[in-house]
């Protein structure tokens, strides 16, 4: 399973305080998502690309990820240029291509990619645990933070279990096809994962109780905003103001 592979690195983006990264990503996403000026949105996309390049992220990896994310956008392109109302820019037999539709689809494509790239650059360059830790400093409710912590902690364990069961099925000659047997086998696989995990969660709860868990994680290491973080924060505010003024 591919995850957290961008989190190791030594660029300036990797060094930003995770709390600040979450805030930047939030504000950037909201500003871009709600903006309908194509120039501003394009400027935001360029900023995202600039960050990816200076963060020295693997471009091929990034493109692969963007390819997966753009499925929905591609789907919209099959409809929007043709079904919008308004002025024709091109007619292809019975099919009209509308200016309004193309414009709207283009706007969505740029916005979506700008936000996803910023998300990957900001969140992908931190480990998930450091992001969860940062959330607890950003007033996310304790229970949600704990859910994130446990859920992410056990995804790997459960994925290993899944791989083991899958290999066991394969060794017994299971080959997925479109038939009831396949669906039944997958269901029993999922059922087994659920039951084992349920039992595991019981054991975890008991282990936590034995160790005196009192509904709280004590954090030993605290984040500290450095001069560099303040500089990043200042430039982000400047960019946000720039977007708002241009609007």
């Amino acid at each position: 399973m591919e995850m957290e592979e961008l989190a190791v690195g030594k660029s300036w983006v990797h060094g930003i305080d995770p709390r600040l990264k979450i805030v930047i990503m939030l504000v950037f996403s909201i500003l871009v998502a709600l903006n309908n000026n194509i120039h501003v949105v394009t400027a935001s996309l360029l900023l995202s690309i600039l960050l990816i390049v200076t963060a020295r992220l693997d471009v091929r990896f990034m493109l692969r990820r963007l390819g997966m994310v753009n499925g929905f956008i591609l789907f919209l392109w099959f409809f929007m240029p043709f079904t919008a109302s308004g002025e024709n820019i091109y007619s292809l037999g019975p099919i009209d291509i509308k200016r309004e539709g193309v414009h709207q689809a283009l706007l969505i494509t740029i916005k979506s990619n700008a936000i996803v790239m910023m998300g990957i650059t900001m969140l992908g360059t931190s480990s998930v645990f450091s992001l969860i830790h940062a959330m607890s400093h950003l007033y996310v409710p304790d229970k949600i933070v704990h859910l994130f912590f446990f859920c992410f902690r056990y995804i790997h364990v459960i994925n290993d279990e899944y791989q083991r069961l899958k290999n066991a099925m394969r060794m017994r000659g299971f080959r997925p096809r479109t038939n009831m047997h396949t669906y039944k086998s997958y269901s029993y696989l999922v059922g087994m994962l659920l039951i084992r995990s349920f039992d595991r969660s019981r054991r975890i709860l008991q282990a936590m109780k034995c160790r005196g868990f009192r509904n709280k994680f004590y954090i030993l290491h605290h984040y500290e905003m450095k001069k560099f973080d303040y500089a990043v924060a200042f430039s982000s505010v400047a960019f946000a103001v720039f977007i708002l003024v241009l609007n």
Partner: protein, 198 residues
């Protein structure tokens, strides 16, 4: 189906976020610390299950299992699905922070409502009726989620998206059937092996 960033406008995103906050609030209140590890770890199972691709004819679809999640966890499925979707956004870039609210609502709300309604019939002694109920929990959640996504598209992009919205719903039909079947098999399996989970 995740709605991408940049498609919806402020009112839908706002309403979606608000509804999800309400759902999360109810879910978290029902979930005391005793049950937290269970909810979290079932949430990781649903995350891993969403990486399983099952064949449908020449194509394949990944499992969603929100109906099953709602049946097992009730209101607590809201936080479980929220955490799963957030991790998908963080780890894979699917969806994003502005659409997290509406996407969570679209997937969790039908699952929670159907799960809560149908849970009472799960112990019915009428075998056929029970199977039907389980099938509806699995497939109905997907159907309503698909309808909600289609509705969002039409509201956001206007009547001209009617065709696209219809395709969205139609695309959910094969997945619906598979999810219904798998939900039935999984619940019947759990009933045999670990009935106290239901």
């Amino acid at each position: 189906m995740h709605i991408s960033e940049g498609v919806l406008s402020a009112p839908e995103l706002g309403v979606g976020a608000l509804l999800t906050v309400v759902g999360l609030g109810i879910g978290l209140r029902r979930m005391d610390y005793e049950r937290l590890p269970e909810v979290a770890i079932l949430s990781s199972v649903f995350f891993v299950a969403s990486l399983i691709h099952v064949p449908i004819g020449p194509s394949a679809a990944h499992l969603v299992l929100t109906g099953l999640c709602g049946t097992l966890l009730g209101w607590m499925a809201f936080p479980a699905i929220f955490v799963g979707l957030s991790l998908q956004a963080i780890l894979f870039g699917f969806g994003g922070v502005t659409t997290l609210g509406i996407n969570t609502f679209n997937m969790a709300f039908p699952a929670v409502i159907l799960g809560m309604l149908l849970r009472h019939f799960l112990n019915s002694s009428n075998y056929k009726f029970r199977i039907a109920v389980e099938f509806v929990a699995g497939s109905g959640s997907i159907l309503i989620s698909g309808l909600l996504v289609a509705l969002c598209l039409v509201i956001a992009l206007g009547q001209s998206m009617r065709a696209a919205a219809q395709v969205v719903v139609l695309a959910h039909v094969p997945v619906m059937i598979i999810e219904g079947l798998i939900t039935v098999f999984v619940i019947e399996f759990i009933r045999k092996v670990r009935p106290e989970m239901l």
